[in-house]
Amino acid sequence: MTGSGENPRGGKGRLRGRIKMPQRLALTTRRQPSGSSVSAGTAQAAGSGAPPAVRRRWSALLPLAVAVLAVMATLAGILFLNIKISDGQYRLVEMRAQERALAQESEALTQDLEFYQAPQNVAMAATNEGMVSTTSEGLIDLDAQEVSGNPQPAPAAEDAEILVAQPVQRGSAAADRAASLARERRDALPESESQAQDQLQAANEAELGVNLHGGSLPAPQQRQPADATPSPSPTAAPTGTPADADAAGAGADAAVEQDGPDPAAGGADSATAQQGNGGGQ
């Protein structure tokens, strides 16, 4: 049905109405455009023999049908809304749970991340990788276009032990791993207290004879007597990588082997420190 086809017909109908067409005919022609009532209209037009009775019965049923339809539509609408709302409610609960799970996961990961970022843990990780702090540095001065200083590679394995304890972080997998590693390492230290005491004394004696002349860093070669004791060096375990620590724990051989390169690095400072630690265990 196109609008253009409708208009002339509607206009004709109205025109006929004005020249006293019977009301029913006018009604019929007016109804023609609306599709649903076409059959009704034609039926009424066809049954012109007893039209009022048929029409009355039909129009008596119509409000009832409309009411029933309306009630049903309303019920269906309410049902639909209800389903929607409770569905939304369940979905909300589900999403909340999902949100919580994700938040918890993110929290656990943040905890791990921040554990790794704690300076003492960074230092520990660096030590495990065999990194040492720099002892001298150069300077590139951009303003003066100058390079100054005479940086030297730092001697291996100094500052082996990190004294700031690792944070206790329950619920962080990273912290749990680090704690078990620390336990392993501690267990790898020598158990004998008297042995540790001997070395401590030797280290102290060596230190008294040394003049550092204001230098803040121990001069390695002067510290050699401290570590030249025949007993296994306890510094071997903490200075090594975790694998080394295991080896030292497994047998004293590994520790003795490390005795060679160690004096260059250990120094009385760290020897004292670590023996103190060993004695404390």
Partner: protein
């Protein structure tokens, strides 16, 4: 449509008209019906409107649930934004002991399995990492509510939930997590088990951090699902703000590691290091050899670990106080760095005899030479040119005996008796830092004053606070206060540098930088009165051409010979790390080394010069 709906009305009219002549019987029936309706309506009003038996209210109460919406506690971050304290989600797991019984678990395939209580106990113990006995004790009894485990991680609670135990419930709680643990632990502070702030910034900034709890009221249906259309009230929580500290986590680490190493080496009781920024008194580090791990404060062995010792411990400062004496004497015009002071082998004044830590004959010293080699005799000689009242006034000027006002609870103001109460000896010993006590932080502020052109800025550890909506408020900065003139400060700085270049503390030198400072060794008062052991310290600043940082190191009761237990090496290590960390350019100017001698001893001036 409208026309068709009019017709039925028209046709119904006659029918209605036919019903109107109602019989008497029908009328009575109708009246009874109406009466019943009225009764029902009255009853309805009675029940719903007046609700005398409270049924509607109790029904509503049964549906109503009120929930506390806990405010999230704010974070504490360091000056770089690294998190020092944050809140994380944990669960307090509780049991209803009256319901403990064997559990019938339904498998997905429809079969069932009975899990005995014993098995459940073992499962719970495994998940929660506690002993079977603890679990059994928590389950055994007839209480409706008993905590089984507090602060369980979400993982643990999920695992417990999978056991499908009807009698186990969990309440989500917020717990504090301190990612850096011991590092700066007592500065950050910690919380008690019931969520009360107990120490440090957590306590002092509790108002900013805690926020305000909200609440939510809603109705639930019988099956526990929220009724979506029912009215609900919600007052949202206002989350706590975050606090940014002036502490730099990395500097804190350098300081803490260095001081811990030295304390271990000397088997000292404790050690502490303060790093201050000269220009504004901001505290970059408050490091103790051991600090509490706020994650588990209960593990701490030493009570002193609970608050930063630099703030809470009062110690006799010893010779580091000579800097204050020198500042006062120079400011009052009683001396200059190169004033000539003949120093006897031992000095007797008012019947009190003073000696030095090293043996010497009568020497012709400059004032700089006296301070450089930390001579008590010469210091008393020069200091006694000030009246006792002046000495007291100058100590007060530098804030001795007063709080710095740093935002950390438990600060000590030390002990400074009024000068009228000083005994004959004390009036002289205060000149070299004995007979009075102060916090290491207070000692550091003396050097901050000298380094800052004579202007004291009280130290602060809170940089700013940020509320939940993101508005940042800078913490109020204390009013800078001029204590000594700029000229005096410059002269004292030269003396400080002489201490390191040709004086008694060559260990304090930092390669590449001009450094100044002063060492101190004081006898530490023992618990049973008298003195017992030493307190050694070194406080200094760098770079001397424009001092930017002050580092103060204090060691309590180090063991060993008094000449080998100093703190200057630790100072050097920390100061070196600080200067490099902040990218301070190495000094290009020549270091100052004032003459220490005059007259007959003048030829000894080149002794320690390279």
């Amino acid at each position: 449509m409208s026309s068709s709906s009019e017709h039925p009305d028209a046709t119904d009219d006659p029918q209605l008209g036919m019903q109107r002549p109602a019989s008497r019987r029908e009328f009575i029936g109708l009246a009874i019906g109406l009466f019943a309706l009225v009764l029902l309506a009255l009853r309805l009003v009675w029940v719903q409107g007046f609700d005398l038996s409270g049924r509607a209210a109790s029904a509503e109460n049964a549906r109503l649930r009120q929930e506390r919406l806990p405010a999230l506690r704010g974070e504490i971050v360091d000056r770089t934004g690294a998190v020092m304290a944050r809140s994380i989600q944990r669960y307090d797991i509780a049991v209803d002991q009256t319901l403990v019984q064997d559990i019938i678990m339904r498998n997905p395939d429809g079969t069932t399995r009975t899990v005995s209580v014993l098995e459940t106990i073992q499962n719970l113990a495994d998940i929660l990492h506690i002993s079977d006995d603890d679990v059994r004790d928590a389950l055994d009894g007839d209480a409706n509510f008993q905590y089984l485990f507090r602060s369980a991680t979400p993982e643990q609670w999920n695992a417990v939930r999978e056991l499908q135990l009807g009698y186990v419930t969990a309440e989500p709680v917020s717990q504090r997590s301190y990612p850096n643990g011991q590092l700066g632990g007592s500065v950050v502070g910690f919380m008690g088990g019931d969520g009360d702030a107990l120490a440090g910034i957590e306590l002092s900034q509790n108002d900013v951090l805690s926020g305000e709890d909200g609440s939510r009221t809603f109705e639930i249906s019988a099956d526990g699902v929220r009724i979506p259309v029912a009215p609900q009230d919600e007052v949202s929580a206002v989350d706590g703000g975050s606090v940014q500290l002036t502490i730099d986590r990395d500097v804190q680490y350098y300081a803490q590691e260095a001081v811990a190493a030295r304390v271990k080496e000397l088997d000292a009781e404790w050690g502490t290091a303060v790093v201050l920024r000269v220009s504004d008194g901001q505290v970059l580090a408050l490091a103790d050899s051991t600090m509490v791990d706020p994650n588990e404060p209960g593990r701490t062995e030493n009570e002193g670990d609970y608050s930063p010792r630099a703030v809470a411990a009062a110690v006799e400062p010893g010779s580091t106080e000579k800097t204050l004496t020198a500042s006062a004497a120079i400011e009052e015009g009683k001396a200059e760095p190169l004033s000539e002071v003949p120093v006897p082998a031992e000095l007797t004044i008012d019947g009190q005899t003073f000696t030095d830590s090293f043996n010497h004959g009568a020497e012709d010293r400059t004032f700089a030479g006296i301070v450089a080699d930390s001579m008590n005799t010469g210091t008393v000689e020069v200091g006694s040119r000030l009246s006792p009242e002046q000495r007291h006034t100058w100590l007060k000027n530098f804030g001795i005996g007063d709080l710095t006002g740093i935002e950390i609870p438990g600060e000590t103001m030390g002990l400074l008796a009024d000068w009228t109460a000083w005994d004959t000896r004390q009036q002289y010993t205060v000149l070299f830092g004995q007979g009075l006590s102060q916090s290491p932080l207070r000692t550091a502020t003396i050097y901050q004053t000298v380094a800052n052109d004579g202007v004291l800025v009280e130290p602060r550890v809170v940089l700013s606070t940020t509320d939940a909506t993101g508005n940042t408020t800078q913490a109020p900065t204390p009013e800078p206060r001029r204590v000594i003139s700029s000229e005096t400060a410059a002269q004292v700085l030269e003396i400080m540098e002489t201490v390191v270049t040709v004086g008694g503390a060559p260990d304090a030198a930092v390669e590449g930088y001009r450094v100044g400072g002063k060492s101190g060794t004081a006898e530490a008062p023992g618990d049973q009165g008298g003195y017992d052991g030493y307190t050694t310290s070194f406080v200094g600043m760098a770079p001397m051409e424009d001092p930017q940082y002050v580092v103060a190191v204090t060691l309590q009761r180090p063991k060993g010979d008094v000449r080998t237990i100093g703190a200057s090496g630790v100072f050097s290590r920390i100061m070196g790390d600080v200067l490099k960390h902040y990218g301070v350019s190495p000094s290009t100017t020549e270091p100052v080394a004032l003459d220490k001698f005059f007259g007959k001893d003048a030829d000894r001036n080149d002794e320690n010069r390279d």
